[in-house]
């Protein structure tokens, strides 16, 4: 029998309850096996890049913040760095440190959020609630520093908008300690649990070769053994004083599989690493001004004559963010291109999902930590015979976990 005779398509999304974002994946299925993957990305396209060419750089900064609610600061930093490189603007050292503290707090919150989603996809809802409870600590600290839980508004072109006074240091260090001390417990629950292990070990494998050819970035690439981390490669901001090393899974287990387990592992290790970076950044933070120009109106006047091309890069929780900006000496940027990490990592879905089981789709799809609003855009389905809702898939996934757990008892 020809393979197309007994394959059917299943559709995931666009509205599904687990990932909170519209996404549409189309998969060809042969029995239980995935034999073809396709995606379409149009649900979250808001035309941000076009809107930016009608606004001034400071307005664009806050537009950039609203590209993504989870890694909002990463986009602000990238856009600022792009404009700074056009104008040769020097950011004061203290601002570099505040940026790093903000960015690492964001990484902790994003990775823990993701760990919760992964637990939910596996059917461990109690673990999801536990991780989200842990996450509230970092959100409180973010609110303590910036005044808001999610959108921080901390960055401006040439520096930061708020200082972190000395009296706020102890609380930040407490948060860093909180996450360092909870690492062992998290590792116990996520990495040593036999059921999670059997659901994630050697599931959704991305080989190093595939990671390189699909241009994967961030934890997805690092879990496959690609030593790529903008924090080290560009050594920008205060990261050059802090000597950040990319986290690879072999640091913990001694081997690299490139599977879902490794991607969980890399993210958990990065939470610990971020906590250490924050503590060192707070202790080493130099005195001095916090911005190249603090007054927005004066800053705008200084930015207006800038002309040229600039690239701004930053290691967001999900991987490299890159912004390209062209200024032509007018009030508005002439062109702006945003490349979020999921844009690259999505290509990895094809090798990841191939030949895997239907019940593993949710956890594999989630394992690259897809962020659709970042990518501006989501994944589509033909409708041949059977359409499974995302909920049905999630149920299948939960069922598989329960069966495994029964067998292990």
């Amino acid at each position: 029998m020809k393979p197309e005779d007994n394959t059917y398509s299943i559709c995931v999304g666009p509205v599904h309850p687990a990932l909170k974002e519209p996404v549409k994946l189309n998969m060809q299925i042969d029995g239980e096996k995935v034999t073809g993957v396709d995606f379409e990305l149009s649900q979250v396209h808001r035309g941000i890049e076009w809107a930016a060419t009608r606004r001034n750089p400071i307005q664009v900064l806050f537009l950039a913040e609203r590209i993504c609610g989870i890694c909002n600061m990463s986009h602000m930093i990238s856009f600022s760095r792009a404009v700074e490189s056009i104008g040769g603007i020097e950011v004061p050292p203290r601002a570099h440190y505040i940026r790093v503290i903000g960015a690492e707090l964001e990484r902790i919150h994003s990775h823990i959020l993701w760990a919760g989603v992964a637990a939910h996809e596996l059917g461990f809802d109690s673990l999801m609630h536990y991780t989200w409870k842990l996450r509230e600590n970092v959100l409180d600290t973010v609110e303590y520093i910036t005044g808001n839980r999610i959108t921080k508004g901390l960055i401006t072109i040439g520096g930061v908008r708020h200082d972190i006074p000395k009296k706020k240091f102890p609380r930040i260090i407490d948060t860093a300690h909180f996450y360092s001390s909870h690492f062992d417990k998290m590792a116990d629950m996520f990495l040593k649990d036999r059921v999670i292990m059997s659901r994630t070990r050697d599931v959704g494998v991305l080989s190093k070769r595939d990671a390189l050819t699909t241009c994967a970035v961030g934890p997805t690439a690092r879990a496959s053994g690609v030593k790529k981390d903008v924090r080290k490669d560009e050594a920008y901001a205060a990261y050059q004083d802090l000597d950040v090393e990319p986290v690879l899974p072999d640091a913990y287990t001694g081997e690299i599989h490139g599977d879902v387990y490794d991607r969980v592992l890399v993210r958990l290790l990065e939470v610990k690493q971020s906590a250490e970076i924050i503590e060192r950044a707070v202790r080493q933070m130099p005195e001095g001004p916090i911005a190249w120009e603090e007054k927005p109106a004066a800053l705008l006047a200084k930015l207006k004559p800038l002309a040229g091309d600039g690239i701004g890069r930053h290691e967001a929780p999900r991987g490299e963010v890159i912004h390209y900006v062209r200024m032509t000496g007018e009030e508005h940027p002439y062109a702006w291109k945003v490349r979020a990490p999921t844009y690259n990592n999505m290509m990895a879905w094809v090798p990841l999902l191939m030949n895997e089981q239907i019940a593993d789709i949710p956890v594999i799809a989630a394992s690259i930590d897809p962020c659709m609003s970042c990518t501006n855009r989501a994944v589509k389905a033909g409708t041949n015979d059977v359409i499974y809702s995302k909920e049905h898939l999630h149920r299948l996934s939960v069922q598989k976990t329960r069966e495994l757990r029964r067998k292990m008892k």
Partner: protein, 178 residues
């Protein structure tokens, strides 16, 4: 490896085929003075494929970041952003190749045979700028849905741009966009 040595290789291989070369250094105020280097140059569209091929040959597995593009009026400019030498502290070099396409012949060659991950960018260029990528393995729309009007290209600044379908929510309430 630094920006100079990378450029030297390109000059040797391509001579006058690459133009408008600039090296940009990102300013840095910290003590260590490590900085990232960015190389920008233009290459004719006939030579784009061989330039990328040279890049892949000389620096195995260059990271293809993204392709940006914009409308300059008479031409469309595409910018292919690559990074090489990652994994070395402050050693990563960003290489940007500019390609100019005249508006009466908006065609370019695919680079997906060299870097498969470039497919998303190439599909995006096709729908956002209305260019034609020759031999692209998959030419469907990606970021725009099927109901989006044909012949409108969001990043263009001429009559095919999105201005006629754009809407200002607040202006619309008062009666039409100005």
């Amino acid at each position: 490896m630094n920006a100079e040595s990378v450029l030297k290789g390109f000059r040797k291989e391509f001579g006058s085929k690459i133009k408008d070369i600039t090296i940009q250094k990102v300013p840095n105020s910290l003590k260590k003075k490590l900085f990232a280097e960015r190389i920008w140059f233009s290459v004719g569209r006939k030579h784009l494929h061989s330039a990328v091929e040279y890049l892949c040959r000389t620096y195995p597995d260059p990271h293809f970041a993204v392709c940006s593009g914009y409308d300059t009026g008479k031409e469309i400019e595409l910018l292919y952003h690559f990074t090489v030498n990652y994994g070395v502290r402050a050693g990563e070099i960003t290489i940007t190749m500019r390609v100019m396409l005249p508006k009466n012949d908006l065609q370019t060659d695919t680079i997906t045979d060299l870097i498969p991950g470039a497919i998303i960018s190439e599909r995006e260029m096709q729908e956002m700028l209305g260019i034609k990528v020759k031999d692209i393995p998959d030419s469907r729309r990606l970021f725009l849905d099927d109901t989006f009007p044909r012949g409108v290209f969001p990043w263009r600044k001429d009559e095919t741009g999105p201005d006629k379908i754009a809407r200002n929510v607040h202006a619309a309430r008062k009666g039409g966009m100005k």
